[in-house]
């Protein structure tokens, strides 16, 4: 049961970070980052498997791969931006966290704008 492993890592890291915050607050932030990365790495292989399965079903259903790729890219960017922003928030740097969120939003918008403009093109095509 991998979830037990992950919860275990999470609990141990939380206790350590609480102790470290009083003694060495500068190491507490690093421990928090490392814990986040370790948990993400444990999940990465499973996530890859899920994405592969979804990809194969997208091919079977004859959905255009560009939809799949765009949605996955946007989801990945959203996830990484949230991850980075939360680490900064934990370290008490909410200003940097909001900048990371802004960067995530801008990059998602850059990816979403072509989709929105193509929908506008589609609407204009429909109009007589």
């Amino acid at each position: 049961m991998q979830i037990i492993q992950i919860i275990g890592i999470g609990f141990v890291a939380t206790v350590l970070i609480i102790i470290l915050k009083k003694q060495r607050p500068e190491i507490a932030v690093q421990a928090s980052i490392v814990t986040g990365v370790v948990i993400f790495m444990l999940l990465a292989s499973k996530l890859v498997a899920v994405v592969d399965v979804l990809g194969s079903y997208v091919q079977k259903a004859e959905i255009k791969p560009v939809y799949f790729a765009t949605v996955l890219k946007i989801t990945g960017i959203a996830y990484i931006a949230e991850f980075g922003a939360e680490i900064c928030n934990d370290a008490g740097e909410s200003a940097i966290a909001s900048k990371i969120e802004l960067a995530g939003k801008v990059i998602i918008t850059v990816l979403a704008v072509p989709i929105i403009t193509s929908m506008l093109d589609l609407i204009m095509e429909i109009m007589p």
Partner: protein, 214 residues
């Protein structure tokens, strides 16, 4: 027709399921609504596009999306290239200025009686102008050979001028060229001005020469 409707329904159902799974995986933060806009738009396109095909009109989502992405990339590259061009121009000006200063100092040292020379220049930095790069004003601080190197023996103590308190305004009117006249020997100054004028095309009044004070 039945195949068309079947494929259409499969497309919609598969995409809905895919989007639901993606939204399950999404963090619950502020990003969710941005992802929802993109997924929602893709959903609308998937629903509407087959209707368009049915009516005989052809619309390629991939082409439209590629065109949109290319447009954004083009604008981004144009903006970046403008910035790079500006940075490159600044670097060129810096290198050119350093080279000119070095050449002026080298030329000044070739004049008899000049041991050391430190130069500074003001150049036309407007790249759109026809006179781009021309030297507008040159400042030269020279050390004469007769002054000695200053490192050996006891240095000569300079005489202190009388400071008249309350006449600052009058003293303040002395400009750099007037100061240079009193500091620098006239013959050396003339030779330096002639040399710099002929080599770098700077008019004599724009060359300010002064003697280094210890």
């Amino acid at each position: 027709m039945t195949d068309f409707i079947k494929q259409w329904i499969i497309n919609i159902v598969a995409l809905v399921l895919f989007i639901v799974i993606v939204e399950m995986l999404l963090p619950k933060g502020k990003m969710k609504k941005y992802v929802s806009i993109a997924t929602g738009t893709i959903m609308i396109i998937t629903i509407v596009n087959p209707l368009l095909e049915l009516s005989g009109k052809d619309f390629s989502f991939v082409e439209a999306q590629t065109a949109g992405s290319n447009m954004i990339s083009k604008i981004e590259i144009e903006n970046n290239s403008k910035l790079m061009e500006q940075e490159q121009m600044e670097q060129i000006i810096q290198v050119y200025r350093a080279d000119m200063i070095e050449q002026i100092e080298h030329n000044a040292k070739e004049v008899d009686g000049v041991r050391e020379a430190k130069a500074d220049i003001i150049i036309n930095e407007d790249s759109q102008s026809e006179d781009f790069g021309t030297i507008r004003r040159a400042y030269l601080i020279i050390t004469l050979e007769e002054d000695g190197d200053g490192s050996l023996g006891i240095p000569e103590i300079e005489s202190i001028n009388v400071v008249k308190i309350g006449k600052v305004g009058k003293l303040g009117k002395i400009n750099r060229s007037q100061a240079a006249d009193t500091d620098c020997p006239h013959e050396i100054k003339r030779q330096l001005q002639e040399r710099i004028s002929s080599v770098f095309g700077v008019s004599g009044e724009n060359i300010v020469i002064s003697k280094k004070t210890r």
